[in-house]
Amino acid sequence: MQTNLSIIVVENDRERAIQIVDSLREAGEFEIHVIAEATSLARQIKARQPDIVLIDMSNPSRDTLEEMTLASGPLERPVAMFVDQSASGLSTAAIEAGVSAYVADQLRPERVRAVLEAAIVRFQMFQRMRTELAETKRALEERKVIDRAKGLIMKARKVEEEAAYAILRKAAMDQSKRVADVAEALVTAARLLS
């Protein structure tokens, strides 16, 4: 009988780590360890001898794991970045989702598939959340700047809020710029002059 695959997840955000582990548990029976980011990462992993290591591609510590591909000691198992030979493009999907997998040599690709598919789905979700968060933050900041610019125009030209916004929008259209960019320029200029 085959033993369960052992998986290490490198993730320092507790919440995200729990979510990844949950997704993997749904995909099958695995022995899973989570390592929060630490300077001795490569050695911690070597000590555990996992079959698969999963790490966020945006984590700078990923470079440390690259060291394992050079493992040459007699007790060390060779490890490679996962590259599937199948037509499914699992590797490409993984990279698009932002997750890297290191896999012990001689592990059959079909054993890795379920793990990687589950990880990809989870990381795609993280990526969507990250984009949404960044977009929301940007929108909020732009709203603030536009409000400030409107205030400046209302004061200087003695107009109502709606008219102030119309002036701003017209200036943006005339210069084929975004309203937020014109507002930003106005706020910066006002700060310099005050």
Binding site: T39, S40, A42, M57, S58, N59, P60, S61, R62, D63, T64, L65, E66, E67, T69, L70, S72, M81, V83, S91, T92, I95, E96, S100
Partner: protein, 399 residues
Amino acid sequence: MKSDRLAIGFVPLVDAAPLIVAHEMGFAAEEGLFFELHRAPSWSALRDRLSFGHLDAAHMLAPVPVAAAMGLGGGGAHLDVLSVLSMNGTVIGVSNTLAEQLHDYGHSFDFQNAQAAGQALIAVCQKPLRIGVPFPFSMHAELVCYWLTALGLPAPENLDIRTIPPQLMVDAVKASEIDAFCVGEPWGSKVVASGCGTLLLPCNAIWAFAPEKVLTVRHDWIKPNTELNHRLIRATWRARRWLAQPSSMTLTSELLSRPEYLDVDADIIECALSGQFTISEQGDQRNVPGFVEFHKGAAGFPWRSQAEWIAHQLARRTGLDPQEAAKRAQSVFRTDLHREALRATAADLPGASSKCEGALSDDSEAPSHRGRVVLQRDAFFDGRIFEPLPFDPHKILAK
């Protein structure tokens, strides 16, 4: 004119300047190109995004495409080098504990004598010496290994080279995870600024003219995009030539310091570009002329012998056959494309495509396609000379 978009990746370091400058100063636009620049969180992420076709070209550590040709690391895509982007530009430093021992031993911290610094280091350090480098396939790793092996501290028995991302180097020194480090600027100076380390040597004290970063593309991308890669080579050549003018330094520092690029103070970047270092917490100053070189001495020319030297070192370190590795590596540095692309420009290129590395103990003239080109001093600290293999052009045609 509608410009062609190229997705290009870089790691936020001072030597990404040729790509950033090509974009910001209009050298890319001059060639009808639009650089869509993507900042990468790590070298492995950058390499993989290039290998899997998310990027068209990348700022890369010179040994990465060589390692790929040798079957080491990564997704297995064949990578080629169009130009060298920068020469030198890295520093070696030690923890303050080790610096104190070196002072007691009588080392002068002259910041130029690699022989003296290495011997002092070997005399006082605990074995194995633990030294942090940013990536397993990097000039940092190769130069440190070359230097200390030559002086009698062989890896891996007495030299433990560990991979630590540059931005985590300070923490690793603080946590005593490592005794020494080798890293590109501004990260070495950041260790000094944090009060836990002292700089020992610039890496050009080990090899006076070492290729550091290269412009890399996928091998299978080249053929269907001949015109594009020629334009890419020319745009970065113009950017490198502009960077070589002393008057460009201030503007370059300002450009690189922007949040979308390095997001570091312009002052720190200017120090690296001009080679001015504060090597210790006490404020000792050292000056390194030509600390990082983008253009002078045919700096951008991707010598096949450079690729071979890297392959040789990497093979010895990983137990592979050095001759076989050198053979595989020599066609990775595409002198042919570099020449073709720059034929119609004012660039003066060397007549040869391979040279004895380390043979020039002074700046020297060499034959070029216009007459003579001046090559920079490229000596190794121990005076050794590396002889390249003869080149078999049929191999490239057969590929």
